[in-house]
């Protein structure tokens, strides 16, 4: 059923600390490892020794924030499904493959019902869903549903692979519906925020903003960080083939 539950008993989700994430990609690897060997179609890689690409449920971007004065700072930015309360990806699904669980709020894809239309990936503002090009099926973060309730693995491992592996302690897992849970307290103390709140998705996952940096020595280091920087302008990308021809023909008009 692609109707969303009116409310969920729990809101299981992740809290991601942008202050401590060091961008090591350990969670990306752990996520891919677990989710390729366990539930559902494996996460494929294509063209591994060429123009490589693959399916991932969790990806790490990095952003630079440049204040008006002083040096820019870099923030590593892990992103996986936010298990939204008002998940637009679920309601658009025609086959009923996408659903949100009433008991714990996890958003999942039933791979036996998915027809690979990709509409749910278009509906997600965060880019949390990817069609696996080999299996032809929509893949997304399962919140490691096959770990967190799994009584066949030691209790210490009954948390998402990405949380378990993070060496910096930047990923936390728990019930965000319970104000007394450790992660709810963490969110309250650190001022956790929603991504793209204006999209109205009501994400369950929260992000903890980076703490302010100290300013020692910033005054004498506020110019260009590297004297070569101006010479490193990006190389122009020209489309080739048919598009290139179209491009040039339109240019001449």
């Amino acid at each position: 059923m692609t109707a969303l539950p009116a409310s969920t008993q729990k809101k299981l989700g992740l809290v991601i600390d942008l202050d401590t994430c060091v961008g090591c990609h350990a969670c990306v690897t752990a996520c891919k490892g677990w989710n390729t060997q366990n539930y559902g179609a494996p996460l494929s890689d294509r063209n591994a020794y060429g123009d490589a690409e693959g399916t991932f449920l969790n990806r790490i971007h990095a952003y630079q924030s440049q204040p008006d004065q002083g040096l820019a700072r870099t923030t590593h930015f892990p992103k996986s499904c936010l298990h939204c309360d008002d998940a637009p990806c679920v309601t658009v699904c025609p086959t009923g493959a996408s659903y949100k669980r009433a008991e714990d709020g996890i958003v999942l894809v039933n791979e036996d019902a998915c027809m690979g239309c990709g509409l749910c990936a278009w509906a997600c503002p965060y880019g949390a869903r990817e069609v696996d090009e080999v299996a032809g099926i929509m893949k997304k973060c399962t919140l490691c549903v096959d770990r967190i309730y799994n009584e066949n693995i030691p209790e210490i491992d009954r948390q998402p692979a990405c949380v378990r592996t993070c060496p910096a302690g930047a990923r936390h897992f728990g019930d965000l519906a319970d104000p007394a849970s450790d992660i709810s307290i963490l969110v309250a103390e650190r001022g956790g925020v929603d991504l793209m709140p204006e999209q109205g998705t009501k994400p369950v996952n929260k992000y903890l903003p980076p703490r302010p940096r100290d300013t020692i020595g910033a005054a004498q280091m506020s110019d260009d960080e590297d004297i070569l920087a101006p010479f490193l302008a990006p190389v122009a990308e020209e489309p080739a083939g048919f598009l290139g021809w179209l491009d040039r023909s339109l240019e001449r008009l």
Partner: protein, 296 residues
């Protein structure tokens, strides 16, 4: 968004096909016998060819039949239902006209409504997506409907009606472009709201070295710089040229040229519909920064 040829072809052809059904269903004196056969053959060819080409972009076609399940929430599912109902209803109407020379007017009206509903549900698949602000506006369903009716009127030979709908479609198209160019800023999603970081935020490193499904599908950027030229070409082919031809004394050859020009123009507008649509996820990949609302 990546303009998938199968989807563009689908919405252009089936739009014209269902538009033709609308006029065949509403005609006070519809053709019978062989003449009816030709009209319905064209309508079925266009609509069914369109629907078939739409299934080409499914990556797991064996589950396509399951798309009938979730009509309660999903516009894509509603489209599947509307299309089947419209095609079946029109089949009854067409068989009566072709083989028995009988005009089942109420069946025709019902078929016309269902055909319009099919075009509307197709448009709503795109309109509903808040993550693609350019599509998420009132003009989107109006554009699909007016173009479908203009194409249908031309195919069924109603010259004045066709001219009126061409004018309407042209107006809605301009509105869609004008509003569409502002929608990203209106939606208010920016790289700051996406990352909740402050100051001037730019992408420092992508999450991977190559492309991925998301960058290929949602962060399409080729030839956007030609958008203005393509808009002019599309507008002339889809609206201006057919209008001029319709005002000349009619002949079958002229009508055919007008229809082909119109369809080529609609194809171009649909290509632009996709190629120009900015998905907010592009912000995470450093795209669309010029489109976002000015940082507060």
């Amino acid at each position: 968004m990546h303009p998938a040829p199968s989807v563009i072809l689908f919405s252009t052809l089936s739009g014209a096909g269902f538009g033709l059904f609308v006029f065949l269903g509403l005609m006070p004196v519809p053709p019978v016998g062989w003449a009816a056969f030709v009209f319905f053959a064209v309508a079925y060819a266009l609509s069914v060819a369109g629907l078939l080409s739409a299934t080409f972009h499914l990556k797991n076609k064996k589950n396509a039949w399951k798309s009938y399940r979730e009509w309660r929430t999903s516009w894509l599912s509603r489209e599947a239902w509307a299309a089947v109902f419209a095609l079946l209803t029109m089949a009854v109407y067409a068989i009566a006209l072709i083989f028995f020379g009988v005009h089942l007017a109420p069946v025709g009206w019902l078929g016309a409504i269902l055909s319009l509903a099919t075009v509307f549900t197709t448009a709503m698949i795109y309109t509903q997506l808040r993550a693609v602000p350019r599509w998420n506006q009132t003009a989107t369903p109006l554009m699909f409907l007016t173009f479908s009716l203009a194409g249908g009127a031309m195919l069924s030979g109603f010259v004045t009606v066709a001219a009126a709908f061409l004018l309407a479609a042209g107006g809605v198209l301009l509105w869609h472009w004008w509003k569409g160019d502002r929608r990203f800023a209106e939606a208010g999603t920016t790289i700051q709201s996406a990352t909740r970081l402050h100051d001037r935020v730019t992408l420092f490193e992508k999450p991977h070295t190559g492309d991925n499904y998301l960058t290929r599908e949602m962060v399409f950027r080729v030839a956007r710089k030609h958008a203005v030229k393509l808009r002019v070409i599309a507008f002339v082919l889809a609206v201006v040229f057919p209008l001029i031809l319709l005002l000349l004394p009619m002949s079958h050859a002229l009508a055919a040229v007008a229809i082909l020009s119109h369809l080529a123009g609609v194809l171009t507008t649909r290509w632009l519909f996709f190629a120009e649509a900015e998905h907010v996820v592009g912000l995470y990949y450093g795209a669309h920064l010029g489109k976002q609302a000015r940082a507060a």
